[in-house]
């Protein structure tokens, strides 16, 4: 894979006093402000039900906030129409907690899906997709349907799909939630490699303390509808106390 130049220091994600509620119920997010710099790798932690997945949905533009402002790649998304959000989404690779692989497509076809959305012809990306699947250790599973893949294999197909268009931002929701420790290590190394080699910004929501410890990076902790940045040195202790 080719290296990408970083051309701007503009935050990849910037949330200003963002709130989100569903109807008259209590706010899921109350007053969230954060920003992620290009090339950063950030973990989002917090107790179950704290709103991590909701925050990620705001980041990958599946939701609009009911208060505050979400800017992606320097663009205030509240000013954009539905139509104008599509190009921004193409700069984001999402690894869903439940994988969201299409059951009628093979591993190869699932990974190639974002490229088909971009209108690219298969002959232009075939070799890249195969190389990518080999990179995630699935070179011999190109034709396998999701139903025949293990949890770890599905996870790696989902990762390959998220990175195939070399996005500026990768958002992962509990990427190690369905895999054993060994596979968790492999996935972490994949993320680290993406972050270093392609300078891809990563936002990873996780409960996995071991993963956070290995990364040795700042952690965003979400609780009571608000986000607090915890320095890398104190992150594992802060998480262990929850």
């Amino acid at each position: 894979m080719r290296e990408r130049d970083l051309t701007s220091d503009e935050p990849v994600i910037r949330l200003d006093r963002v709130g989100l509620s569903y109807g008259p119920e209590a706010d899921v997010l109350a007053d969230v402000s954060l920003q992620l710099r290009p090339g950063s790798m950030t973990f989002l932690t917090g107790p179950s039900g704290a709103g991590k997945s909701t925050l990620l949905k705001l980041a990958y533009l599946a939701l609009r906030p009911t208060a505050g402002r979400v800017s992606m790649f320097g663009v205030d998304t509240s000013r954009l129409s539905r139509k104008d959000l599509a190009p921004l989404r193409r700069r984001i690779g999402v690894i869903f907690q439940e994988f969201r692989l299409l059951e009628h497509l093979s591993a190869y076809e699932n990974v190639a899906l974002p490229l088909r959305v971009l209108g690219q012809h298969e002959k232009t990306y075939r070799d890249d997709v195969i190389e990518l699947l080999k990179w995630v250790g699935l070179g011999d599973r190109l034709s396998a349907r999701p139903a025949t893949l293990s949890g770890g294999e599905k996870q790696r197909v989902a990762i390959a799909r998220a990175v195939v268009v070399k996005p500026d931002l990768i958002i992962a929701d509990e990427p190690t939630g369905n895999v054993d420790e060994e596979m968790g290590d492999r996935l972490y190394r994949l993320f680290r490699e993406l972050n270093k080699r392609l300078n891809t910004t990563l936002l990873i929501a996780t409960h996995d303390l071991a993963l956070v410890r290995k990364a040795n990076t700042d952690v965003l902790r979400l609780a009571d509808g608000m986000v607090v940045r915890v320095p890398a040195s104190r992150a594992p202790q802060a998480e262990a106390s929850t």
Partner: protein, 289 residues
């Protein structure tokens, strides 16, 4: 290995097979109604052409009065031809009512005169009636206008009813396809959402459903039109076997115009299916962020 790409929407399932049957049946009925409408209008035209300008005059009197009437009619304006019918011709006209034994020799028959006026002369019947009355000839002039208007009105009504049936069947088809598209959309929401979050434009997602339903509409429409052709051919066959023709009813002919109706039906079904799918998908997508 050379991987090939499967369609982004899974191939059809039982739900689409049921939809195929419904669209096929609707297209069959619509095509058949179209054929009936066309034949009703052409029957109306044929009847109008057949009787326009034809005038029958019944003279109550002797041969001399008939001869005088012929002379007067011939001299009248806009009359193209005129002749007195022979007794044999009058008997032939009565044969359907009196049977093969014919008319008894002693039965007096009215003297009939057949005339033809210019098609543009709508008042010819009334004018002839006035001329004969002025000449003291007791005669009744029938220019067929009254009953031909009734027949035309009846056949036009049949055609209109058939056209309304085509419209209703078409609207039903659109509603069914919109409903089916919505159901498919709900069933494939995982795919739609994933494509949406991957950055697919609405038009890209919609095109997947449009292509699917265009093909379904064309194929189901073609089968429906083929069945309608078979039904029309069967009706033609039965009528020919019976060796009789009911002139007051629209006649199926399988002419070039009928072929056009049958040929266009699958295209209309396909395009209508595609548009119904497009509207439904775009409306559903507009609910997403």
């Amino acid at each position: 290995m050379k991987p090939s790409l499967a369609p982004l929407l899974p191939k059809e399932d039982a739900r689409e097979a049921a939809l195929f049957f419904v669209v096929c049946a609707l297209c069959f009925l619509a095509a058949l109604s179209g054929l009936v409408a066309r034949s009703a209008y052409s029957a109306a035209d044929e009847w109008t052409n057949r009787v326009t300008g034809q005038i029958t005059i019944r003279v109550r009197g002797d041969d001399a009065a008939t001869a005088r009437a012929v002379a007067l009619v011939k001299a009248a304006p806009d009359i193209i031809s005129v002749r007195a019918l022979e007794r044999a011709e009058s008997e032939e006209l009565l044969r359907p009512w009196l049977g093969p034994t014919g008319v008894p020799a002693d039965l007096p028959l009215p003297h009939l005169i057949a005339a033809e006026s210019a098609p543009t002369s709508a008042e010819a019947g009334e004018r002839l009636s006035a001329i004969l009355k002025a000449a003291n000839i007791d005669a009744t002039v029938d220019d067929h206008i009254v009953w031909s208007k009734d027949v035309k009105r009846a056949t036009d009504s049949a055609g209109l009813v058939a056209l309304i049936a085509v419209g209703l069947l078409g609207a039903t088809g659109l509603a069914v396809i919109a409903f089916a598209t919505h159901a498919t959309l709900l069933a494939r929401r995982d795919i739609v959402e994933l494509l949406h979050l991957t950055g697919a434009k609405d038009s890209f997602i919609s095109s997947l459903f449009e292509q699917r339903f265009l093909m379904l509409g064309v194929q189901a429409g073609a089968l429906g039109a083929l069945l309608a052709f078979g039904a029309a051919a069967f009706i033609l066959f039965v009528v020919k076997q019976a060796d009789q023709q009911i002139w007051l009813l629209p006649q199926l002919s399988l002419s070039l115009a009928d072929g056009l109706i049958l040929g266009v039906s699958p295209l209309v079904a396909g395009i209508a299916s595609m548009l119904a799918a497009k509207v439904t998908v775009m409306r559903s997508l507009s609910d997403m962020v």
